[in-house]
């Protein structure tokens, strides 16, 4: 198969339409996924959420138990219809977590491997490999073996190798996880550029929210084998629907019963900036939580007594974990910690401004 770009499709029709149902040693995956041409979707979730199983199912490395996988109008896996296309015949390119560059081949031959298998002759495959290495900025490294490449270079060779087959669907499994922090910043920016140029669909698996936010147009949050939330970065970060997502985006999240601006959470009633009726989430950032040694005067409405459970460094401030009627995290300055003489077990008062407290419906 000569992998051509995706066919022109009616606007709005997804290029990838999948309902992935798979089992893996007691673990059950059930994830629906639709990705348009040119769109980058991040599957984001904690370890063991089923992200990698989903990616393997898309690549054809793990068969579906039920559901379907349709790419560019063609069924690749549909257990009902007894359709299964093996990985080598799928128009799919994969960047693996630790790249899996063939150690016995040069960078050029690694990239040329795909085109060669898909029918190009040796010269054409090498020419295409050289062109791709040039595009990822590694023109001078064609003859290097994988072990002679740095982590960032190996990542780029892996990307070139996956893109050289001009896949309709590009899959990336934790593409930046193996890199050190510094290389990661540069590589992330560059990867963003290449993903933007890829005309097909892209699915990115990651547990790093920053990678997901920078690289993806849309986030699909997976927990326990199911989609718990999806939407663009702004929607997800503003309105997390699970503790995992809240922690990812750094928000305190609680579920309660709302009636207008008032939301009852346990024994407390919080006042939010939004108007909701019924089941609702309340979210506010740790930095919006202020700590006081005694009940504050002129009292802001959202105050409650709390007990310090722990204090740890978090960037250039300190994060205080609080027990009490509403377990939350609070970000305070070192000066404040010193002034309050905060230590575990101490009783304090917590306060959050209503203007920084968001509420949104929990149903549906």
């Amino acid at each position: 198969m000569t992998a051509a770009g995706p066919r022109r499709r009616a606007a709005g029709t997804p290029l990838l339409d999948a309902h992935l149902v798979a089992d893996r040693g007691g673990f059950h995956l059930d994830v629906a996924l639709r990705v348009r041409a040119g769109e980058v979707v991040a599957l984001l979730g904690p370890n063991g959420a089923g992200k990698t199983t989903a990616l393997r199912a898309l690549a054809g490395l793990h068969p579906l138990a039920a559901g379907h996988l349709t790419l560019d109008g063609a069924d690749l896996d549909r257990p009902d219809g007894r359709v299964w296309v093996p990985p080598e015949r799928r128009p799919v390119g994969v960047v693996f977590q630790d790249y899996l560059l063939f150690p016995h081949l040069s960078a050029r031959d690694n990239v040329a491997f795909g085109p060669r298998r898909r029918g190009a002759d040796r010269r054409a495959a090498r020419a295409r490999a050289d062109a791709w290495l040039d595009r990822v900025g590694l023109a001078g490294y064609a003859r290097r073996r994988p072990r002679e490449l740095s982590g960032g270079q190996a990542q780029r060779v892996a990307l070139a190798r996956a893109l050289a087959v001009e896949p309709t669907l590009l899959l990336l499994d934790e593409p930046l996880a193996a890199l050190d922090a510094r290389t990661r910043v540069d590589t992330r920016a560059e990867l963003h550029r290449h993903l933007g140029a890829h005309p097909g669909a892209t699915v990115l698996v990651t547990h790093d929210p920053l990678d997901a936010l920078v690289l993806a147009d849309r986030l699909v949050i997976v927990e326990g084998g199911r989609v718990v939330q999806e939407g663009d970065a702004a929607a997800v970060t503003a309105r997390p629907r699970t503790d995992y997502v809240a922690r990812l985006v750094g928000l305190n999240l609680h579920r309660g019963q709302a009636d207008g601006h008032q939301v009852r959470v346990g024994a407390l009633t919080l006042t939010a900036v939004d108007r909701v009726v019924g089941e609702a989430f309340v979210a506010f950032p740790p930095a919006a939580v202020a700590l006081h040694p005694a009940r504050p005067d002129g009292s802001p409405r959202n105050t409650w007594p709390a007990r310090v459970a722990g204090v740890q460094r978090h960037g250039d401030h300190l994060r205080v974990e609080l027990d009490g009627p509403l377990p939350v995290s609070a970000d305070v300055t070192p000066a404040a910690v010193a002034a309050l003489r905060l230590r575990p077990g101490q009783q304090v008062w917590a306060a959050v401004k209503a203007a920084e407290t968001r509420a949104y419906p929990a149903g549906g």
């Binding site: 198969m1 490395l61 799928r90 899996l100 063939f102 016995h104 081949l105 491997f113 087959v165």
Partner: protein
């Protein structure tokens, strides 16, 4: 210094090397040139190298795919098959030779059919020597290659599949290069075992100078009449094989 390791290591080395010293001490150095020039020596040496190499190639052709199946394919009875592969290791070689006769001999299970259909008879032929050596040497190759395959990261094969490589191409272009050191090590063991093969060879292929009399057979017969001649033959076999193995090893270790 971990003396606890060095002392037994030294004893182990001495245990392996001392018998060689014994051979060197008793070697008839004065008459060595004449003995080496004796007509049978070169013939037997050439036959040994030829048949050991042939047996190694046969083991590679059959043993590498067998190792792949054992390492990569799940099937009922795999443990039993793996145990069967090691049978030639525990079987006394002479019994192995008899077993080969019972299969490939004139009255053997396949021998009669081979003769009638293709006119092929294996006992008492050079091909029979190759067969006998391959029989006893094959487990060394299969075990080494299977171990290498199990240790190799099978995700490389998955990566190859996503790039469009079918199973066969993946095997030849990815799997084999990845386990090349294991295959090489197995082939060396296999060759060395084939070179020293005696029992199965003399039982299955007999002993006839130039056709089936390899060095170990020549050594054994020389031992009947002339200890010194046997020592000379042994030293020739040792020197040649050690030289070849050392040469190959250097190449592999420094190679890619």
């Amino acid at each position: 210094m971990p003396v606890a390791l060095f002392v037994p290591a030294g004893l182990g080395l001495a245990f392996l090397v001392l018998p060689l010293t014994g051979l060197l001490a008793r070697a008839p150095w004065a008459t060595l040139p004449q003995r080496l020039a004796a007509p049978g020596v070169l013939t037997a040496l050439r036959l040994s190298l030829l048949t050991a190499t042939g047996a190694t190639l046969l083991c590679l052709a059959l043993g590498v795919p067998l190792a792949w199946v054992l390492a990569r394919v799940r099937f009922p009875g795999r443990r039993l098959v793996r145990a069967l592969v090691t049978v030639p290791l525990v079987l006394p070689p002479v019994v192995g030779g008899v077993a080969l006769l019972l299969v490939f001999g004139r009255r053997g299970l396949l021998g009669g059919w081979l003769d009638a259909t293709f006119g092929v008879t294996l006992p008492f032929t050079t091909a029979g020597v190759v067969l006998a050596e391959a029989f006893v040497a094959m487990p060394f190759l299969v075990i080494a290659v299977e171990g290498a395959l199990r240790a190799a990261d099978s995700r490389y094969e998955e990566a190859a599949a996503t790039l469009g490589a079918g199973r066969w191409t993946t095997f030849t272009h990815v799997t084999l290069p990845l386990v090349a050191p294991g295959v090489a090590a197995g082939a060396v063991l296999c060759w060395a075992r084939a070179l020293g093969e005696f029992g199965a060879t003399i039982t299955f292929a007999g002993n006839f100078p130039g056709r089936t009399q390899t060095m170990p057979l020549a050594v054994y017969l020389a031992l009947e009449t002339d200890l010194e001649a046997a020592i000379v033959l042994s030293l020739v076999l040792l020197t040649v094989s050690v030289a070849i193995l050392a040469g190959l090893r250097d190449r592999w270790v420094t190679g890619p």
